[in-house]
């Protein structure tokens, strides 16, 4: 009998991992082993990384050996099988998260333009002066095509050298004069009303030109693009071809981007302020309902206490980002949705912090003030409020600080403020503008962080 036990338990462990351990009475040990091997096998199966089953087999065999020695009264360390399982888990983790250390090193150059734009935020700019001239092209040809234009005396002009009409894809040649000398310019394609336009491309690249020393545009060949508008394909359609030069003039001044960023930053700060204020209004009364020392003693008030706590915990566990998505759907894009999302989350967060401040009130002073013959109101004013106001103020300032940070993120999902702007600029690859927003966020967050730390230090 005594001889058989080790053999039987190791056999059992060979059939099902951990079974042998359970058989000799080590239920938890067996269960943990079984669970670990089963779950890891599932993981391997999910990733279809079958070579990792070698590890499972090793761990399994170790379990068999363990069951054998266990039955003979000498348990072994379970460290090796769990080490093997740990390695397997991390190998899978590496694959799942697409870790690419090589790319991290080799592609570092890709972020150079982005970083250089970010560190040169579009805060300052000069005024822009433009020069432009146009000529008309028709496609396809009608009976009376537009004229080729005439060179002017003092103003910039464009003329067409060969033909002023043709099919889409045919080429025509333009020439111009009286522009700024030795300057780069762009060619644009407009409909006749001028409300639709795009830059003309040639073989995928934008078509640019450079004027000579006398300000002439040397003959430039253009492949006729598709005309704009509804009339496309319905007979002859005229389009405008425009040569456009831009240059910066005057002194540096604060850019439009700067004012836009300031504008939206203020919106963010106020968004956080409104959300925090709304949260205070709700959280203060709620905090009394969620304080055990005030609500204890009577089953009804205890019930209210547990209910309040539960609601606060649930609300707090919902990320403000998700809350913002809900409110964007509800009240539409914009800062109001952000205010609501942050307010709801802050009520929960502040309610909990406030109620803990109430719970940590020292009953001694209350007793002392009561003993002087003070009435209830006086006791609250002299013994309770001095104890809770400092932590309340500290938590509130901290919350406002957190809310400013959160509202930049909430903007990404349409909750208003600077985050919304930042998100658009990033999508449009406007990194200089995005840089200005990033800097603004960093400065404001730092300043608020500092202020709130100072205030908290003073008060507590």
């Amino acid at each position: 009998m005594e001889r058989k036990k080790p053999i039987l338990s190791s056999l059992l462990s060979l059939i099902v991992p951990g079974l042998g351990q359970m058989y000799v009475g080590q239920l938890a040990r067996g269960a943990v082993l079984l669970l670990a091997i089963a779950l890891t096998s599932l993981l391997i199966h999910w990733r279809e990384s079958n070579f990792l089953f070698i590890g499972i087999i090793l761990a399994w065999l170790w379990g068999v050996w363990d069951a054998y020695s266990l039955a003979r009264g000498r348990p072994m360390s379970l460290l090796p099988p769990f080490l093997i399982i740990g390695v397997i888990v991390y190998i899978i983790g590496w694959h799942v998260t697409d870790i690419n250390l090589v790319g991290l090193v080799t592609d570092v150059a890709d972020i150079k333009p982005l970083v250089s734009d970010l560190v040169q935020p579009a805060v300052l700019e000069r005024d822009i002066e433009t020069q432009e001239a146009e000529i008309i092209f028709e496609s396809p040809c009608s009976d009376s095509p537009p004229d080729k234009g005439t060179p002017l005396e003092d103003e910039p002009y464009l003329i067409i050298l060969d033909k002023t009409c043709g099919e889409v894809g045919e080429t025509f040649t333009i020439e111009g004069g009286n522009f700024w000398p030795s300057s780069r310019g762009q060619i644009w394609w407009l409909n006749m009303a001028g409300e639709m336009k795009r830059r003309i491309r040639q073989e995928g690249e934008y078509l640019n030109f450079e004027t000579d020393e006398e300000g002439r545009i040397l003959p430039l060949t253009i492949v006729a693009p598709v005309p704009f508008g509804e009339a496309r394909g319905k007979g002859p359609q005229r389009s405008r071809v425009q040569a456009l030069l831009k240059r910066e003039v005057g002194a540096l001044h604060l850019s439009r981007t700067f004012f836009l960023v300031v504008d939206k930053m203020m919106e963010t700060i106020f968004l956080a302020l409104m959300a925090t204020t709304v949260a205070i209004l709700f959280a203060v009364p709620v905090s009394f309902l969620a304080a055990r020392n005030l609500m204890g003693g009577n089953p009804i008030t205890m019930g209210v206490y547990y209910l309040t706590r539960t609601v606060l915990n649930i609300l707090r566990s919902i990320e403000p980002l998700i809350m913002a998505i809900v409110f964007v759907v509800w009240v539409g894009l914009g800062p109001f949705a952000g205010v609501l999302a942050l307010a709801v989350h802050s009520v929960a967060a502040l309610g909990k912090l406030y109620s803990e401040a109430v719970e940590s009130i020292d009953p001694g002073p209350i007793e002392a003030i009561t003993a002087t013959g003070a009435n209830r109101l006086q006791t609250i004013v002299y013994a309770v409020i001095p104890q809770i106001v400092p932590p309340y103020v500290a938590f509130t300032v901290y919350r406002w600080d957190v809310n400013v940070r959160m509202s930049t993120i909430i903007g990404f999902v349409g909750g208003g403020g600077i985050g919304y702007l930042l998100q658009q600029w990033i999508r449009l690859l406007m990194y200089e503008e995005a840089g200005a927003a990033v800097w603004a966020i960093a400065i404001v967050v730092w300043a608020l962080d500092y202020t709130s730390a100072v205030i908290r230090e003073r008060i507590v």
Binding site: D362, T372, L377
Partner: protein, 251 residues
């Protein structure tokens, strides 16, 4: 005269803290309540001004039944009874002056007291701080003070009540022996000069012998001794403190 008659306190959890305690305190007495930790000293003192509700028995003070009073009447009684706590029970974040002024809450107009105290009350508070020799600390925050200074604030606060009876629950248990004497001397002075009746619980017998005019010994919620301090013989001492007890002296 304060009369305690068959005072019984049973806490919600069933603990019998006071068991038919009866004694009398003539006006002008310095009565010390002596007893081991858990004997019921704090419970007794707090029952007298109803910080704790007695379960049964009566407390009669100059003919008024304190145990029957409620609401406004109870507050009127309380404002004549000062209370000094072992842990001082100051509002830590408020100034010393505010702490002292709060002793006057039972007298001033409640609505006015929420905004600010009348000028003459501030003067009174400064006077009481001078009495306990800490007028220079008036504008400090209570949490900046040492233990001895705090207890003096506690005394000044109680003095604001113009008390005729002073209850002191182990007022010197958190202080070192030298400070203990200085605090008890203030109480002695109030007792002798102002004729305030003092009920004070203490731990150390030599302090009792030095300050008490009368002693009530408590053990497990029962009165086991009543008499003058010089009547506490070794035998009596062991009855109060248990057979293994030795006398410890405080210098």
């Amino acid at each position: 005269m304060l009369q305690v008659e068959h005072l019984t306190k049973i806490y919600e959890d069933g603990t019998l803290a006071l068991d038919k305690v009866s004694f009398e305190v003539p006006d002008g007495e310095f009565l010390v309540i002596l007893g081991l930790s858990g004997a019921g000293k704090s419970t007794l003192l707090r029952c007298i001004n109803r910080l704790i509700e007695p379960t049964a028995g009566r407390i009669i003070w100059d003919g008024t039944d304190i145990t029957a009073a409620s609401g406004e009447e109870l507050r009127r009684i309380r404002r004549h009874i000062g209370f000094i706590f072992q842990e001082f029970n100051l509002v830590e974040r408020s100034s010393v002056l505010t702490n002292v002024l709060s002793g006057r809450l039972g007298y001033v107009n409640p609505w006015q007291s929420i905004i600010r105290f009348p000028r003459e009350e501030v003067k009174r508070a400064m006077g009481n701080l001078e009495r306990v020799d800490i007028a220079d600390l008036a504008s400090k925050r209570a949490d900046e003070l040492s233990g001895g200074q705090r207890q003096r604030v506690g005394i000044a606060r109680a003095l604001m009540q113009e008390p005729r009876l002073m209850l002191a629950d182990e007022p010197v248990a958190s202080l070192d022996p030298v400070l203990a004497h200085s605090i008890l001397r203030y109480l002695e002075q109030l007792n002798r000069e102002d004729g305030i009746t003092v009920l004070c619980s203490l731990h150390f017998l030599d302090l009792v012998r030095r300050y008490a005019s009368h002693v009530v010994g408590l053990k497990d919620g029962r009165v086991v001794f009543q008499g003058r301090p010089d009547e506490i013989t070794d035998q009596r001492f062991k009855e109060i403190y248990g057979q293994e007890a030795e006398q410890i002296t405080v210098t």
